[in-house]
Amino acid sequence: MARITAGVASSHVPAIGAALDNGKAGDPYWAPLFAGFDWVKAWEAAEKPDVVILVFNDHATSFSLQLVPTFALGCAESYAPADEGWGPRPVPTVYGHPDLATHLAQALILDEFDIAVVNEMAVDHGLTVPLSLMFGQPAAWPVKVIPLAVNVVLYPPPTGNRCWRLGEAIARAVASYPDDLNVQIWGTGGMSHQLQGPRAGLINRAFDTAYLDDLTADPERLRTMRHIEYLREAGSEGIELVMWLVMRGALGPRVRELHRHYHVPASNTAVGHIVLVPVETL
């Protein structure tokens, strides 16, 4: 059967993609950020996941205000990198896993998670920057990707607890898929940042550090954290962190931390990254 073997989280700042695509990854500004992803690149190359369920958000790219789904699961064969106004990123086409994705869609809805199904979508930096951070600049991405788009643009995003429970349901759905697949789940976005208004530029290292710690030490605190706390402490865009809890919920009650990295700044944002594996419980 298919199984979720690990969870990975990272921020997904567009400037990171631009730095990589324009050959600036070695510049003094960017080098310390990218160095923090060397470990995960080697680890992913050894782990060789078959599929990544990639929890991300669209940034007014494929979803306008015409339709705002809270959870939307990509079931397509492939996803083109989107033109976000600067031309599409020069990265490979993202290939999906329609058979597992449609299995997930069916299982999740019958498990009472009323997700939307996406059959065509261009994917923006929210999805492609994490792929670049974990896999570098290959000619083709070494995994199939199932995008799970979460609305975090229009308030309110789903609660942390709802995200966690969706993660649990995803784990159940993956475990009921007959083929033997090594599946990872990634949560992206965050950490603290605010891109709007006179408070733009907000960074909260203490909040971010506690968040990284409590993914292992006290996930219940994160699961019940209210939106207003994210907004006050991590900035209006820091609320993207609820997407990490889909990943965390899918890993079960106990996890072990393999690696983490934290860096300020990437443009306007605090970049956080963590790799977690489930601890088997009886």
């Binding site: 007014a60 306008s64 033109d83 891109l195 208004g197 006179p198 402490e233 443009s267």
Partner: protein, 129 residues
């Protein structure tokens, strides 16, 4: 419950609620139209004429013409949509962020390099902490 929280109590911050999204619908959809190169060209050729095609408030049009992002947000704009405007202008998120804070871009960039803006005293309007 979250819905009872005072979303307007955070200094210098506008939460993009469904109500604000309703008020700013045409402003934000105008921004989405700039995802297409042909529309960007038409907008750049005559900004006022292009804006007049969209049924948004006159104050929203004037805010766009002035590149006053705080005013656009007050009219229901959301930053991810408004980003299409400064992308059309060939400018970065950091340029726009600096502009919204009233800082020169180099000063804003220096603040970010020094660790960003501290939340201390900026968590609440009613009781600063």
């Amino acid at each position: 419950m979250s819905h009872a929280d005072d979303l307007d109590d955070i200094p210098g911050t506008t939460i993009f609620t469904a109500q604000r999204a309703r008020a700013g619908y045409h402003l934000n959809q105008f921004c989405m139209s700039l995802m297409q190169a042909a529309n960007r060209e038409r907008f750049k050729a005559d900004e006022r004429a292009y804006l007049n095609e969209w049924p948004m408030a006159e104050a929203a049009r004037e805010a766009v013409l002035a590149r006053d992002f705080n005013a656009m947000i007050a009219e229901g704009g959301n930053i991810y949509f408004l980003a299409k405007i400064f992308a059309t202008d060939g400018l970065s998120f950091q340029w726009a962020a600096a502009r919204m804070t009233g800082a020169a871009q180099e000063d804003y960039a220096a603040m970010m390099l020094a660790g960003g803006r501290s939340p201390e005293g900026l968590r609440s309007i009613k009781e600063p902490w």
